[in-house]
Symmetry: C2
Subunit: 789 residues, 2 copies
Amino acid sequence: MLHQERIKPPLYVYPMDDWKLIEKRFYPDLLPQMETMFSLSNGYLGMRGTFEEGAPVYQNGTFINGFYETWPIVYGEEAYGFAKHGQTIVKVTDGSIIRLYVDDEPFYLPAAQLLHFERVLDMQSGVLSREVLWETPSGKRVSIKSQRLVSFQYRHLAAISYEVIVQNARAPVVISSEVMVPQVEQHMDGDPRLAHGLKGRVLHPRVNYFRDQRLMLSHATDKSGMALACGVDHTLATECSYIAKTQSSEDSAKVLYNLNAEPDMPIKLVKYITYHKSKTQPPEELCERAEWTLDRAVDHGFENLLEGQREFLGEFWERSDIQVMLDPETAVRTTREIQQWIRFNLFHLCQASARVENTGIPAKGLTGSAYEGHYFWDTEIYVLPFLVYTAPQIAKNLLSFRYSLLDQARQRARDVNQKGALFPWRTINGEEASAYYAAGTAQYHINADIMYALKKYVDVTGDQAFLFREGAEMLVETARLWYDLGFFSDHKEGKFCIHGVTGPDEYNTVVNNNTFTNLMARENLWFAAQTVETLKTQDPERFLELVDETGLNPTEVQDWKRAAELMYIPFDEKKGIHPQDDSFLDREMWDFENTPKEKYPLLLSYHPLVIYRYQIIKQADVVMAMFLLGHEFTAEQKKRNFDYYDPLTTGDSSLSVGIQSILAFEVGYDQKALEYARYAVLMDLSDVGGNVSEGVHIASMGASWMVMVYGVAGLRDSDSVLSFWPRLTRGLERLRFPLQVQGQVLEVDITPESITYSLRRGEGMLIRHYNEDIRLSAENPAAVRPFKT
Amino acid sequence: MLHQERIKPPLYVYPMDDWKLIEKRFYPDLLPQMETMFSLSNGYLGMRGTFEEGAPVYQNGTFINGFYETWPIVYGEEAYGFAKHGQTIVKVTDGSIIRLYVDDEPFYLPAAQLLHFERVLDMQSGVLSREVLWETPSGKRVSIKSQRLVSFQYRHLAAISYEVIVQNARAPVVISSEVMVPQVEQHMDGDPRLAHGLKGRVLHPRVNYFRDQRLMLSHATDKSGMALACGVDHTLATECSYIAKTQSSEDSAKVLYNLNAEPDMPIKLVKYITYHKSKTQPPEELCERAEWTLDRAVDHGFENLLEGQREFLGEFWERSDIQVMLDPETAVRTTREIQQWIRFNLFHLCQASARVENTGIPAKGLTGSAYEGHYFWDTEIYVLPFLVYTAPQIAKNLLSFRYSLLDQARQRARDVNQKGALFPWRTINGEEASAYYAAGTAQYHINADIMYALKKYVDVTGDQAFLFREGAEMLVETARLWYDLGFFSDHKEGKFCIHGVTGPDEYNTVVNNNTFTNLMARENLWFAAQTVETLKTQDPERFLELVDETGLNPTEVQDWKRAAELMYIPFDEKKGIHPQDDSFLDREMWDFENTPKEKYPLLLSYHPLVIYRYQIIKQADVVMAMFLLGHEFTAEQKKRNFDYYDPLTTGDSSLSVGIQSILAFEVGYDQKALEYARYAVLMDLSDVGGNVSEGVHIASMGASWMVMVYGVAGLRDSDSVLSFWPRLTRGLERLRFPLQVQGQVLEVDITPESITYSLRRGEGMLIRHYNEDIRLSAENPAAVRPFKT
């Protein structure tokens, strides 16, 4: 239950549009969050939606996924096994700045007399454009049109087209296109969710040079040993005369165009910006790669990049779009807004994941540095379902990336006195970077979350090769961890208990037998045992390899099965619910009534010891388990659990509302489900969490997709067959979306009258509609069914 | 149970002596711990037992109790209400150095040819003396005799007498007497028990000057705003000719005596060293005070100081000595050793507490900077019993000091969202300095510990004025904290439960219903209610004042009584024991058998999450409760509890063995009790904890006294009457000790034949011998009783 109305005005500044996010005038107060909202990214390179002119600015940030610096974590009081090094994503060299001067006076938005202002993020063209008509104090009308893109096609490339026309006069115009290393700022205000740790200079200059209008700056970090080259090139198209001048130093460079603007004569500068990073290659090598990228970009030209964006996004929407309206012309306003909201979420999911290769997806994508650019379970549990069903190759990349960190996970397990492997709760480079174990390292469930995602990926794609190769090794090591972590407790009739862990809910930490963790660990153990056994019979050669890689002992598999079978799952017979953990029901009830709104999120107003003492929940925990492993609960248990936990759940985490929504749908609370869905979908658009200025909430965006697909359409896939339990919900005129399953494409189309399942591509598949099994095939590609009444 | 033999060789280097600790030769390997063992202190000023020559040295430290610097605590991950500032005791200006050069070559112990070496800490004279006979490479025999004292009489004063005689030749002799600000060293090796936090320069120079042989350096800290003046003066007595030269800079100063030594002609330098500190007065003022102290010292002379020491200690031993032998001449070696061991503990208790005024007693006294010079519950629970019975004025000072911190405790309660007052777990200035809440702030029991000590002080001294004035106010605020912290739990039939706390045992943190805490909180609530009610009838005026000071509402007292009456005390009917907390018995058993010795203390080898998962105990917890509140347990419960917990108790804390010993005595395990007693008494002498180089364990020293008085003699005082349950223990020939009770003095004298209770001073008192009440009076001052058979 959300204990306050959190939909705030920012939402209403965006005019209704199916495909665009539009800002009709300049809102100084909304500047910080607009920078986030208008961020561009391709999953490798991200640029916040700052103005080209570099000012005004809240937080100027260009990010390269996985480009980070480390720092020694200092503990007030150290203890054995605490994580040693922090990792923080670095704000890299900023190539976006293009300053404009007319009559040698700068164009500065807040002070400028604007006859027109519009900024548009077009989710079909993948372009952020801004149109301004500026009347200078001397009455000159200057039209400024910029277009910015971060290329999906060329992952190292961004480009900006900047067009200036002095409409009614001659004027001296100066355009200064710049590249610079950003100042290091400090966040030390105590909000644990923000980035911190880095002090002083982070990027140390290496090679830098320029040639004509091409600028090249390269830098390296000190401790993480990463190198970065940022190259920029320009083409200027105009019939106005001008002089160009280039300057360069270690940390900044610029090309200055000194133009004699003629009335109505366009001046169009295109700026190409490229970033190459490496942990092993020297800056010289990266500069060379940057040269290639720039050569290609300049050769192809800006129009070609625009085309590439449109093409890429065309395919993306084809694979991923969720349509929610019947007829754009007649649909009511609310419905049309929903379309925009949902697409905004999907678009950012695309931006966060499109070109992710050899990294994870940071909690904020590449739209801000909060959470330090770390990868959490968000990727596997919140984003991966979307990717598995719409872009399985990316899902595979992400799981492969986890696999590449297995050795560090093995080391981490040893660091905390355990066998097997323990994936880090938060990381960039594979080492644990959580400096607060109670809400970090204690979240052992990360292991099971990743294995859960692996299972989903394998189930939905049928990629057994990946399971047998990378998957099996991860399964062995994670199962080992669980078996070593828990114990058969005499106190619980020999059941397998897991103590001293934190579940998803960070308002109850270091508990015994967290229901979520135990259920997920059991799934992990089962899946590991089953995979090893299958492998042994189906691919004995690979099995022997696995034994070799992991030192697997045959008795281990028996141990896992026994632990799984005897896994203790807390259940309170009297209340008929699953306690969140052994002592959850013992706790005091929180006095919600007398908690003022401004005390939320509670973590910013109460000492952890206070919060931990109450039956108060930051985010779905048992409810999350009921979503991920729905088949483990009866319908009655689900309802009782939801009824018990929902009122205790503050939703202080952005990860909460989406899951609450899906379960509310399932247990039949449509009104509540829609309310939660609204919060999930509007998390960023309406700044529900109050911190969108620091970046979007990628997990909540993933949850938005899940709310539609798992919530409204009632998809369930944790059991063997793909089943749907569609709900006719007021406020949604239509819900249509595609799902890729084992190389085939299923389209689900829900209208108030019926549900249509269509096989868009593929040989055939079995699905379940409520309790009816339906076989779709090339011959019978569609089935129309009514709602259950 | 101690899982390893920990009595190590160092013990055996000290020859047997009733009153002296003697080092017969220079042991380079033992240098670090010898510096601790030979530390001198008066509770205000402490100097480690370094050599006058300044080298070799492990850790050169002069400490002023409560002279500290603060620093911002940096958390890996910050949260609301975490302690903000660290506090660290500062190594102050070192005035002890006297360097000696013969033939312009330095006297350097490790390299010197020594014909004789002896160092003696005389516990009757309060003097550390060293005698060395050095043969220089050129065959000159140089006798060096030094005597050092930290004055009990003049708390700001230390003095060193340094006598040099070249026995067999003429020689140029240079004596350089120095004062210097020590280098700041860094401890960053991850051991949480050491001091850390301070970086760079801590003492910033203020006034400095010299006049003749008098040197004056003053400094101030940056953040804590404390000022310090260190003054030194000299007298040189010799018939040899010499030139004296004085030099001074901001951070060091020296007087250099360039002498022409004649054969067998003594050169005797006396150095007087004084320290004055203040948080409010400027350095100039402190320098002036230092001048007074030096004037007086020089005027009285060294002999006078020696006399003062002897007199002070004479009174101390009169009040505090524990005699353990019948006849020094005939007693067996073991017994005589015990005498030395016990006196060593008592002597350090004296040194730590003698002149404590307006501060607490640091965990290491003033013998090292481990635990950063912080005050813990050690003072109230481990040291105060000794002081209450032997030096009640000091006990009162310590409680008054706590009272002076009440406002900060009120603020701390608000910081962690509670009502009333919460005393800091560790502090110098009254603010919480614990940077790890699980083993810090969560130890709410500190409140009850202080109130327990208050009750003991009041019970034993009868000082009702203190109870009504300072005591009542502290009681109201601490009771409020408990009432606000706990709740009446439906889940426990309406009992009053206290969740999310850490008891004394730091291997099980943030638990629900810690038996120790609940019992102690109940005592706190009862005592508060009773005091307020007594006050209301006996001193209505003061009662009204109290209401005014605290805003006390009459219903509050009823609340406290109800909470106390309904306090939930965990009890396991099946096992017949008190679980340490709600979930303790659910935990896994630790595999002691397969834990290698080098893994102890476990906290240095296992992640906290691992440790917290097991039934493994760092230090007495339920056992501690059975000691402090013995009347709350039946004899059978005590035995069962002890039997259950003792094998789980690692004794990784030095606070453990003493309490285990007392309870082992009580439940009749004499052999085990003696073994534990030995560990307690030898904690420092034998470096049981392996870290005596960082300072002595004052709490364990207090426990050593308690082991004799509460353990062997079986004193119990938590109920209304002073009772004894003496045990005839092999290995102790005799046990005789005095107790001050309400201004009277009782002597208890236990021999293998009988127990004699003698009223040495006073009108009369009621005591209990086993179950027999005995009234001692001026007429019948002594009672002789047999052992219970």
